[in-house]
Each structure stands twice: as C-alpha cells, then as structure tokens.
C-alpha cells in the first residue's frame, strides 16, 4: 500500500524539522529554569507590586549568610578570615565580607548633613518643647566619659545632634563588632559566631552557580571542621542547589526506572530484541514535548522534566496497543495490526490529550507547562507509533510469551467466578461503602511548602542563623503609595504608629520605614524655627567656655541646611538599610516599602493596613496558599468538564450509554482513590486532585480497550494490564519523590490507575459492525 511507504517518509521529514528546531533552541545551552516562583500562580497583576516583590526577593537569591562558630573567639575570627579569602578567590562572589571597614569620613559627612532631617522624633520634640532639658543633656554628655565618642568632633557639632542621631539608629539583632578585627560576632550556645556575608555574581536560578556555591560550602565546612569550627549557612542559593540536585536525582530514578522496567516488560512479553524499538515513540514524544515547551514558554522548568518523565509510561501505550494484538492475531504483521487498532489508538490520544490539556487551564504555570509538554509529547508518540514504528517492525514476526496471556486468562476466570457468587450490583454497593467511609476520613491540606522538599538540615541551619543573629526578616511587607513624597512619609508614619504598638506588644520585632530615616519637610522646618529660640537657653554651654560666636555660627549653619527629600536622605552609608525600600516615582506618584522583622502573627498584619489609604500588605505566601485552596474547586470543575468532553467524543463510536459507562468507570476509580487517600491517612492536596484529573483521561483508554475486546476478553485484559503496568511504572516512581507535591501527585495517579484497571472490565462489550 502506498501509505506504508509514504507515511514513514513524511514522519521522518517532520522529525528532522523538529530536531533542527530543537538544535536551534539549545544553541546557547539547555533552556532550563529552576526558578520556583515561575511555577506558582502570578497573582500579582500589578507591575509595581511585582517590582517591589522582586526587590525584596533579590537578596534572598543572591546572598549567603554564614556563621563560623568556635568556642574560642580568636579561632572563630581566624577561620572566618581564611574562609573569606578562599571565597573571594573562588570567583563565585561579587563581594565577600567578614569584617567591617566603615567609611568614617562618609559617615561624618552624612551625619552633619542630616542633622535636621535625620533627628529622631523624640529628640526633635525635646529640642522644640524642652530646650532647657536639651541643653542640660548636652552639657552632661560633654562630661560623660561613657556616652561614647561621637563620630563628629565637638567643635563641628556643639549641640550634639549627630551623637543623638547615632544613638537613635534602629538596632536589630545580637551581632556585635569585634574591636580588633572588625569582625561581626554574635555569642550563643557557648560559642562565638563570626558572620560572613557573600553576594554571588549570578542568582539562585542560574543553573550552575547554586551547585558551585553548595560545593564550596561543603569544602569550607570540612576546612572549618579541621580547625574545630562549625559552620551554619542560610541562603536561597542552598535551597536552589538542593532542589536542582534533587530534581536531577529524581529524574534519573523516575526516568531510568520507568525505562528499564518497560524495556524489561517488552522483552519478557514479546521475546524479540527488535520489539525494543517500541521505545522509539517514547523518545520522539519526549523530544516533541520539550520542543513545544521551549517554543511556547521560552524555557522548560526542571519540575516539568521530573513530572514529564512520567510521560514515558503513557507514550509506550500506543505501540503496546497493536503489539499486544500478537496474542490473538497470528501471524502478526505490523501494518495490519495497526489498521485494526487505529480507531482505538486515535480515541486514546484524543481522550488523554483532553485530560492533559485540562491541566493547562489551572492557574498554575507549572501545570500549564506539564500539560503542553505532555500533550505535545503524546501527539509525537502517537505519530511515531502510527507512521514510523510499523515500518521499523516490518517483517518482524511476533511470537509473544504465552504466560502473560495465561495470567490474564486466570484473572478473567477469577473475575467471572467472583461475579457468579456476588452480582455486580452488590459489589457496587460494597465499593460505594468503601468510598463513603474513606471520604469521611479525608482531609485537605494546601501549602506552598509542598513544592519544596527542603531537607530538615537546611531549615534547621537557617533557623539557627536567625536565632543567633537575631535577624528574622519576614516575607511579608507593606507597600505604600502616595501622590508625593510628603504624603508618602505621612502615610508611612501613620502605619509606623500602628506597627510601634505591635512592637511594644512583642508581636513584631521591628520594622524599617523611610520615615525613620528622614523627617517630613514640615518637621525640618519646625526644627529650624525652634533653633531661633535656643539662644535663650544655652547659657550652661557658654558657662563651660564654649564661644558664643561658635554657637551662633552653628545655628546659622543648621538653618541654612537645605530641606532633605527622600533622594537626598538616601545618599550616604547610613542609609544603606533603607535604600532598597524606595521605589521612587511611579505612575504619577511615589511608592516605598516597609519591611518587617520577627513576625509572630501574620493575621495581625492585614488589620494594620485597614483604613490607611495607599497602604497595602504584600503577603505572597498567604496569597499563594489562598490561591491553592481556590484552585481546588476549579480543578474539580475542570475534571467534570473534561469528562463531558470525553463523553461527547465517545458518543460517536459507542453511543450515549456506552460513552457514559466508559466515563463513569474512571470517575468511580477516582472516587476510590480519593477514599484510599482517606484510608491511608494521606491529605488531599491540590496535587492529588490534579493527579486524579489525569487519571480520568488515561483510564478512559483502558475502558475503551476492554469495551472493544478485539481478540477476546483475556487478550484485551492483557493489553490493559500491560498499558496500566507501564503507566504505573512511571507514575508510581514519582511517589518516592522527596518533594511533597510530586510524591502526592504520583501516589494519587498510582492509586487511580490501580482502580481503573480493576474496574475496566465493567466497560461492557461493544458489538462491532465488522
């Protein structure tokens, strides 16, 4: 037949084209991504919010905090210094810092310039309302040997404003500077911990950097250990490195395990080396999936690869469809076998594709990618199985082993024997009871943390670092918008008042807001005016011998200081902590963030923003968890919708009754798996739901196979068994993943497949027109 020559050629042409496209896509290395945030729904349509979020996230993805601990302080410093030098030399970091080299002249300059704009509200009020007390305190501090040095010499600041600004800087944490070395040290657990900070050249989503950093850390741990020192590290990079290693490991396990299992199964069942060619459609499927994914999204996420590797088991079902006919169709020839099974194959492709593509409509970019990957992969595998594989298998005479058929036959007999004693209707009642009791025990759980299979050691270290240093930044922050800078500072001050209360109640450790750094223009003006009256009260200073002219000159100089705006206030080393908070002019207004430390109760934060115009809480984690819960409902709706579509599709070949029956079985299987999750004490998560969504699509295929019964019930059951086994091999392996989301997905699909196989024989028997 001409099509037998034409089809392989056409397909090969297509394959070459796709290969060329793949080559072009990979021209600059693997278009892979490991950015976790790309996988979760982008619930922020607001560009400013997004920008703010990125600004807050940036240090997480580029910075690394390490504590070097040793019972002997000197040793701790020495080891930190060694490591610091080693890290600097590694070329992985833009900046490595283990000690402090304060730029004192710049500090002095900033303090002098900011005497009016940076003076704390407490000191400002005293100067304005109690000038006598203000002067008295200054006299005291001039004699006080213990108040400390001001960075600015007395003659440049007779009123002592810079000293007050110095002392009123908000302080967090338990980290102190070591006088001699300049190292930053915290004491805890009987050890001195020297803080080492490093900023990488790239970010955590670079594919190589996190692994290199993790390796360097490992080597550094050994080096420190040799000196009796202990290392504690915290960084988003380490999570990224761990995630990548884990993904690679799991991809190898799932992909390799499924491949080996399937190849072995093929060999055992069909006893011909050439039957291994049935794996070619799988490879083609993976290729099509990857190319489509990169073409649509610009890159492919590693998680897509992990979940996508389960496609192996589904793709191999297409060749199995006609290979398994060799038990009934003797002599078996590839093209005739294909023609016989082609309608079933095509239906199978359509239903699976519907099931996968239903995932694409969830708000999860991760699932959209997986849907596209899988749907394209299935099409590729189908085309290869239909166009190319029969040509490759031409001339192969399959004489399959008889034992699988005997197994299937005895299974079928077992079922028939069972049905003689217990009718189907009674069985159904039992199954429904099983489901009801299981569902009763089912509970749901949704948390973004399910995406992260972080090992406890990483978490413990990060917690230890937070405890020892006292830095406990939270991922939540406030975004404040206003028409102009003045209004912005006012709004921040209003928010600050509420946050101060939380701090006093110990519900919050502290916060950073721009209004702590710079006073309102009006407040700066009040200070200027108050200075006019100061001459009435400064006699005690004159009594000490301070020249009147010096004081007058200073007041004049202070009054001449320009009113500082936010941009001016952010100049200078002291403003460093605040610099990231300023978003600048946006959309005809201005915006800034307020960052938080050591939060006990996130729910309290939401209340703080109430009735404050322009103030908004950004709580990405909280939002995500809410999206998770909402999505569960839409996932269930999608599932029903995909069932309706499949029913519509199946009405043509099987009639309304047949179509309903074929779809009812996977639904019942899904219900059984839900109940099993309940019985097993496993929570129902969004991912188990997605898994079940997929099961519907895949297991419709089994029901169709059983209903068509080409070659008798035992042969059909064997075909279903093989298909289920291969699919189960790949999805079942996902269940061992250490990422809760992935393993949950694998578990629910595995359960669903098992039930689908058991229920498939009830699909009835189609009377063929043939």
């Amino acid at each position: 037949m001409p099509s037998e020559r034409l089809l392989p050629r056409l397909f090969l042409t297509l394959l070459v084209a796709v290969l060329a496209l793949a080559g072009w896509q990979w021209r600059d290395g693997a278009p892979l991504s490991a950015n976790l945030m790309e996988l979760v729904p982008g619930s922020t349509p607001d560009a400013l919010e997004l920008q703010a979020e990125q600004r807050m996230q940036e240090p997480l993805n580029r910075e690394m905090l390490v504590l070097v601990g040793h019972a002997d302080r000197q040793q701790a410093v020495a080891v930190a210094q060694q490591l610091g030098e080693r890290w600097q030399a590694s070329g992985l970091f833009e900046k490595v810092q283990w000690n402090l080299q304060a730029d004192l002249p710049a500090l002095r300059e900033q303090l002098l310039r900011g005497r009016l704009s940076m003076l704390s509200s407490k000191d400002r009020e005293q100067l304005i309302q109690q000038p006598e007390a203000f002067i008295q305190q200054r006299v005291q501090s001039l004699f006080d040997p213990f108040t400390g040095f001001s960075l600015v010499p007395s003659q440049d600041d007779w009123l002592g404003l810079t000293g007050r600004i110095q002392n009123s800087q908000p302080q967090h944490g338990a980290v102190q500077m070591d006088i001699g070395s300049g190292a930053l040290i915290a004491d805890a657990d009987g050890k001195s911990w020297v803080l080492l900070r490093a900023r990488t050249t790239g970010n955590a989503f670079d594919m190589k950097l996190p692994l290199q950093v993790a390796d360097l850390l490992k080597a550094s741990r050994e080096q420190a250990g040799a000196h009796g020192a202990q290392l504690l590290a915290a960084s988003g990079l380490l999570y990224a490195a761990n995630g990548q290693q884990q993904a690679t490991r799991e991809m190898t396990w799932v992909g390799g395990g499924a491949t080996l299992g399937i190849l072995l199964l093929l060999l055992l069942a069909f006893r011909r080396w050439r039957v291994l060619l049935a794996f070619v459609p799988v490879l083609v499927g993976m290729l099509f999936g990857a190319v489509a994914c990169v073409a649509l999204f610009g890159h492919m996420h590693v998680m897509t690869l992990v979940l996508g590797s389960s496609l192996i088991g589904v793709a191999v079902d297409y060749p199995l469809h006609y290979l398994s006919k060799s038990w009934s169709l003797q002599p078996w020839r590839s093209w005739p076998a294909l023609r016989l099974t082609l309608p079933g194959l095509s239906l199978s492709l359509a239903t699976s594709a519907i099931g996968y593509l239903a995932l694409a409509w969830t708000p999860f970019p991760a699932l959209t990618q997986i849907a596209v990957f899988s749907a394209a992969g299935l099409v590729g595998a189908y085309l290869c199985a239909v166009c190319l594989l029969p040509a490759l298998l031409k001339g192969v005479e399959l004489r399959p082993a008889q034992w699988p058929l005997r197994v299937a036959q005895s299974l079928w007999q077992l079922r028939t024997a069972l049905l003689k004693r217990v009718p189907s209707s009674v069985l159904l009642v039992w199954v429904l009871l099983f489901c009801a009791a299981g569902l009763w025990q089912l509970n749901t759980k949704n948390d973004i943390r399910q995406w992260i299979g972080a090992p406890p050691q990483l978490l413990q270290e990060a917690q230890a670092v937070a405890r020892i240093t006292g830095f406990q930044p939270t991922s939540q922050f406030f975004l404040v918008r206003a028409d102009n800078q003045q209004q912005l500072l006012e709004r921040q001050a209003a928010l600050g008042k509420r946050l101060d209360q939380l701090v006093q109640m110990d519900k919050l450790q502290g916060y950073l807001a721009l209004n702590q750094l710079v006073n309102l223009p009006a407040e700066q003006q009040q200070l200027r005016e108050a200075l006019n009256n100061l001459a009435l009260h400064w006699q005690p200073l004159l009594d000490l011998g301070l020249p009147l002219s010096a004081l007058q000159a200073e007041v004049a100089q202070l009054q001449a200081l320009p009113t500082a705006d936010i941009d001016a206030a952010l100049q200078g080393p002291l403003a460093e902590p605040w610099r990231t908070l300023w978003l600048g002019p946006v959309d005809g207004g201005v915006a800034a963030m307020v960052s938080l430390q050591g939060l006990n109760n996130p729910a309290l934060l939401r209340v703080q923003a109430l009735n404050l115009p322009g103030v908004q809480l950004v709580d990405r984690l909280g939002d995500l968890n809410r999206v998770f819960a909402d999505t569960q409902i839409s996932a269930a709706e999608l599932k029903l919708l995909s069932c309706v579509l499949i029913v519509l599709l199946l009405i043509a070949p099987f009639g309304v009754g047949g179509a309903l029956r074929i779809v009812a079985l996977p639904l019942l299987a899904a219900l059984c798996s839900l109940a099993s999750l309940g019985w097993l004490g496993q929570p129902l998560t969004l991912f188990s739901l997605f898994g079940l969504l997929l099961v519907t699509a895949i297991s419709v295929d089994y029901a169709i196979l059983m209903r068509e019964q080409i070659g008798g019930p035992a042969v059909s059951l064997l075909g279903t068994l093989l298909a289920a086994l291969t699919t189960w091999l790949s999805f079942g392996l996902l269940a061992v993943s250490s990422t809760p989301a992935v393993s949950n997905f694998g578990l629910s699909v595995s359960l669903g497949l098992a039930f689908s196989f058991m229920l498939a024989p009830w699909a009835g028997r189609q009377k063929h027109a043939l």
Partner: protein, 219 residues
C-alpha cells in the same frame, strides 16, 4: 521558605554595629586603662599582677577634655571606687553631679529612680566581655587590639598603647598611662585632635567597700 529570608537584612547590621561600637567604645577602653594590667620587662606580667593586687581602690579623679576649638579644657572632678570582683563606681561631682556604674551587666546611670541601665549597652556584650576580661586580669583582650610598650620600673612606669586595627586607628592615635603602685594618669589622644587627660589622685587601697558602695554594686 521563610527561613531562607535570613540574609535579607544582614546588610543593615554593618553600619549599625559600627555606630554602636563607637557609641559604646570608651567604656571598656577606659576601664582597661584604669586597671591596666598587661605588661613586658619590668614586665607586663609584673605590672598586671601589681595592678590586680588591691581588691578595692578609692580615689579622686580629674578629667580634662581638651577640645581643639576651645582655649580652655573642660574640667570635671569626682571620686571613684574600683572593686576587683564587682566593678567601678564613677561619681562625677563638679561641674555637675552624675553617678555611673560599670558592672558585668553593663553601664548604668543614676537618676531620681535609682540606677538605670543605659540602653544600647544591653547589646554591648563585647564591651562587657572585655571589661570582665580586664577584671580577671586576662591580658589577651588588650594585647589583641593594641601594641603595648612599657617603660620604667615598678614605682614609676609608663605604658603606651598604639591601636592595631584600622578601626581603632580612626579613633585614637595613642593612649598613654603612667603610674606607680596604682595608675596615676591616663591620656587619650584622639585622631580628630581632641584629647582627654584623666588624673587619679589620693588613691588608696586600704579601705574596704562602705555599706553604701556595696549597696550600689548590689542593685
């Protein structure tokens, strides 16, 4: 995920620490100097032992603050009590009255309501550590941060401290201490050109702590 946020604000600690450092700096330095314990040949060890001997020292002090811009120094006077195992009472009498106490807990100032531990210093574990090291005659602290030079003999010696670290060099050029059985004067030369001269007079190591003094330390 929240745990990985730790790095976030680390940048902020650097300058703040620097400021706290300068804010709290003089306390340990001064105390270290008062007790001044480290030594070479007449030897630092001997000096250290000699100064660590008395358990309680009473005395008067005069502090002269020489500011570059003032023709006259700012002079203040008062008394002090140094108790080996407890700490230091620094009682300023003129031109204004103010009592200070330095103990393991930190620096406290007396107001109408009694001793008030100064804020900022609560975080000053470093200062307290140095201070305690000094009280216990542990010389490693000072020797790490300063180059020590001792001249003279047991009854007439002079100790010169030159800062080693870049940071300290930006604050002090040199610190000079001289004395006999006890410390007599301490001179701090600041990089900015100001200097402080502390004279300890009428020092005695004979009196035990009075009840009031014991009470002050106990609070």
């Amino acid at each position: 995920m929240p745990a990985m946020d730790v790095n976030d604000k680390a940048g902020r600690l650097t300058l703040r620490s620097a400021l706290r450092f300068f804010a709290g700096k003089p306390a340990p330095t001064l105390i270290a100097l008062l007790l001044s314990f480290s030594a070479h040949a007449f030897d630092l060890q001997q000096l250290s032992d000699q100064l660590a001997k008395p358990s309680v020292i009473h005395g008067n002090f005069t502090q002269e603050k020489h500011l570059r811009a003032l023709p006259q120094p700012l002079v203040s006077k008062g008394t002090f009590v140094l108790a080996k195992d407890q700490g230091l009472l620094w009682l300023l009498k003129s031109p204004l009255q103010q009592d200070y106490r330095i103990t393991a807990q930190g620096i406290a100032r007396r107001d109408a309501n009694g001793w008030q531990l100064l804020p900022n210093k609560s975080a000053g574990a470093e200062q307290n550590r140095l201070f305690l090291a000094v009280l216990q005659g542990d010389s490693s602290g000072l020797q790490r941060d300063f180059d020590l030079q001792l001249q003279g003999e047991a009854q007439q010696w002079k100790l010169t401290l030159t800062p080693r670290s870049l940071l300290l060099k930006q604050v002090f050029t040199q610190i000079n201490i001289d004395g006999g059985a006890l410390v007599r004067t301490i001179e701090l030369l600041e990089t900015q050109g100001d200097s402080t001269l502390l004279r300890m007079q009428d020092n005695t190591a004979d009196q035990p702590l009075s009840n009031a003094e014991q009470h002050d330390f106990a609070q």
